[in-house]
């Protein structure tokens, strides 16, 4: 186990930025801390680095408690959101800074810096100053600087936040490759779920200082622990229903709810891909009109309007769409293959407080 957080909390005055968070990171993992801004993820990253001191709880690195170890002694590599390059130093001196502090021999410093610059495709940029570099180059210098002293863990704060959309994709792929080559434990913070899904092995999701879920990208998408996670990762339909005689209803939609007390209100979620559509009106149970089609590249998203006026979103490939001969205004039948009960009445519906155990109920196809 590389890093372990136990019951970490952080208060800034009356504000609780991080609330009782525990998780661990394995050696060599590439982990994302994901959440909306103000979720506490950056504070967690800064506490691991030693830039903030936890109000309570313990942080262990390789089994050693590091709460009282100063940031200078922690041997972590930190890449700041805006890179924080030293403007008054050349690229070479930036990368060499940590090595000089550690009093490496002159020769060794030069070899190590040149090795890193070569690895990062920055060979010719050694004498340049930060203001003479492009955004992508600056980021690579910042990562090279952080890695120079061979830290036990690499921490990145919103690593793709400061570059434009075009370079971002390139940098994501580059980071995955780099991680593969160096195999250094890496934790990065992002507010972009797509980025977290694409780059990381595992994702920790935060909201308002609370840890909502930890899991692989697939787990958090397919088995969201609560409504917040379900809504934050990808697109989902959420309905609020009432149980009558063992069946949860909203207008014409019905979901089996055996053993749920009469009159209980439920929130149910299902992904657009779980909605199956047919142009054969007899095939599935429900009818709807196809209102809008959104082209998303290979995939399409359609909006279905039920006779009662309820609107749900569904997803299919271009081939399926063509095969079914659909167009806006078409009348179709559909079914919902898979759904989850996200929240029940009596437990608060606010996403950040929905607890994990209660939310896991799988529905079967109807």
């Amino acid at each position: 186990m590389s890093i372990e957080l136990k019951d970490i909390s952080k208060h800034f005055g009356a504000v609780t930025a991080v609330n009782q968070v525990s998780f661990s990171v394995e050696d060599g993992e590439l982990m994302a801390l994901l959440g909306p801004s103000g979720g506490g993820k950056t504070t967690v990253l800064r506490m691991i680095a030693g830039l903030e001191v936890p109000s309570s709880g313990d942080i262990y690195v390789r089994g050693q408690r590091v709460n009282d170890v100063s940031v200078q002694q922690r041997n972590i590599g930190f890449v700041f959101q805006n890179y924080a390059l030293f403007k008054n130093m050349s690229v070479f001196k930036n990368v060499a800074f940590g090595l000089r502090i550690k009093k490496w021999k002159r020769r060794d410093v030069r070899d190590r810096v040149e090795e890193l610059l070569a690895l990062f495709g920055l060979e010719d940029l050694g004498p340049r100053y930060p203001h003479q570099l492009s955004g992508g180059q600056r980021q690579r210098v910042a990562i090279a600087r952080a890695l120079a002293t061979k830290p036990s863990v690499l921490l990145l704060d919103e690593p793709f936040g400061a570059v434009d959309a075009k370079i971002r994709q390139e940098l994501r792929e580059w980071l995955v490759t780099l991680h593969h080559e160096l195999n250094v434990t890496t934790i990065f913070v992002t507010h972009d779920q797509e980025e977290a899904m694409e780059v990381s092995n595992r994702i920790v999701i935060f909201s308002r200082g609370n840890l909502e879920q930890i899991g692989t990208p697939r787990q958090v998408y397919e088995e969201p622990a609560n409504e917040f996670v379900a809504r934050f990762i990808g697109v989902i339909n959420v309905l609020e229903l009432e149980v009558r005689q063992g069946v949860a209803r909203l207008n014409e939609l019905e979901f089996p709810a055996h053993g749920v007390p009469e009159g209980q209100r439920l929130r149910i979620g299902f992904r657009p891909y779980a909605v199956q559509i047919s142009s054969n009106l007899q095939l599935y149970r429900y009818r709807a009109t196809l209102r809008h089609t959104f082209f998303l590249g290979v995939m399409l998203r359609v909006e279905l309007e039920l006779p009662s006026g309820l609107t749900i979103r569904a997803r299919m490939t271009k081939e399926e769409y063509a095969h079914l001969g659909l167009e806006d205004g078409a009348y179709v039948s559909f079914q919902i293959r898979q759904y989850r009960i996200l929240a029940k009445e009596g437990m608060p519906l606010a996403p950040e407080t929905a607890s994990t155990q209660d939310a896991i109920v799988y529905g079967e196809g109807i």
């Binding site: 680095a49 030693g50 830039l51 940031v71 200078q72 002694q73 922690r74 972590i76 590599g77 930190f78 700041f80 959101q81 805006n82 924080a84 390059l85 030293f86 403007k87 008054n88 130093m89 800074f97 940590g98 502090i101 550690k102 100053y129 930060p130 203001h131 600087r145 952080a146 120079a148 002293t149």
Partner: protein, 274 residues
């Protein structure tokens, strides 16, 4: 002169015309008149008047005391700016507001109170004079007055730069193992230096022209504690206009030279920006 396609606002002709007229009448023509008076004077004659022994002694005092005062302000002004931006302590807002006091206080009042403080019977003089430190009616008094006059410049130039100093940069140095002293010496210091020098130059330029506060506290003895602006006044009282103008022109050229230097410094300070 102005590109109409980009601006539909009215009043350019009126305001620009008035600006140029007023600027010309109040500032430019009078200053031009000063230089015009020298037209009939040969350079040798000008040089002789500008560099009399008494004038040279006055320049030496003016520039020497201004330099020392600006240096004191560069050192302590940096500490003051740092403390005001970075730390919290009781009375901070009061001290922050007080820094502008020399800008607002008439120089005659500054000179009066400073000379009183450092005189033998003054609050500071009664301790300093027995130690042999004569702050009033000596060239040391000139330094004291000019330090007061120039105090806000370094602080006020440095404060915004310190406020916008990227905190992440200091944190980056810390994650790379650098302690506070090392971070200050290799990163914060070099970044702030041009700004400190700019503040120094502003304080220096202001000190060179200062008159009011100095004549109260300096003894105004020729060759000893007589500053260059005072010598201009003395020449005028002797009806030696050309002699006065000669010294004034020397001061003007030095002021303009400093203005150029300050501009270059500001460009140098932003050399690491895009």
């Amino acid at each position: 002169m102005v590109d109409r396609r980009f601006n539909v606002l009215p009043g350019f002709g009126l305001t620009m015309g008035y600006t140029l007229l007023y600027l010309g009448l109040i500032v430019l023509l009078p200053v031009a008149g000063l230089f015009l008076r020298l037209a009939g004077v040969s350079f040798e004659e000008f040089w002789r008047m500008a560099t009399t022994e008494r004038a040279v002694a006055a320049y030496r005092l003016t520039f020497g005391a201004s330099f020392v005062a600006a240096t004191i302000n560069a050192v302590f002004g940096t500490v003051v700016a740092w403390v005001l931006v970075r730390y919290h302590f009781p009375g901070k807002r009061f001290f922050d507001a007080l820094v502008d006091f020399p800008f607002a206080l008439p120089t005659a009042v500054a000179g009066l109170t400073l000379s009183n403080l450092y005189a033998e019977t003054g609050w500071l003089g009664r301790f300093l004079v027995p130690l042999g430190i004569h702050g009033a009616f000596t060239s040391l008094g000139v330094v004291i007055a000019l330090t007061f006059i120039g105090l806000p410049f370094v602080v006020r130039t440095l404060q915004p730069v310190l406020e916008h100093f990227d905190h992440e940069v200091e944190e980056a140095a810390a994650t790379l193992g650098a302690g506070r002293l090392r971070t200050f010496v290799s990163i914060i210091g070099p970044t702030l230096l041009p700004t400190i020098i700019t503040g120094f130059a502003l304080a220096f330029a202001r000190a060179i022209g200062e008159y009011g506060s100095v004549i109260f506290i300096a003894g105004n003895k020729p060759y000893e504690s007589e500053i260059a602006p005072l010598l201009i006044v003395i020449r005028l009282e002797e009806y030696d206009y050309t002699g006065a103008i000669a010294i004034a022109v020397v001061l003007l050229f030095i002021s303009f030279g400093l203005l150029v230097v300050i501009n270059l410094l500001e460009r140098w300070a932003s050399r690491y920006e895009n």
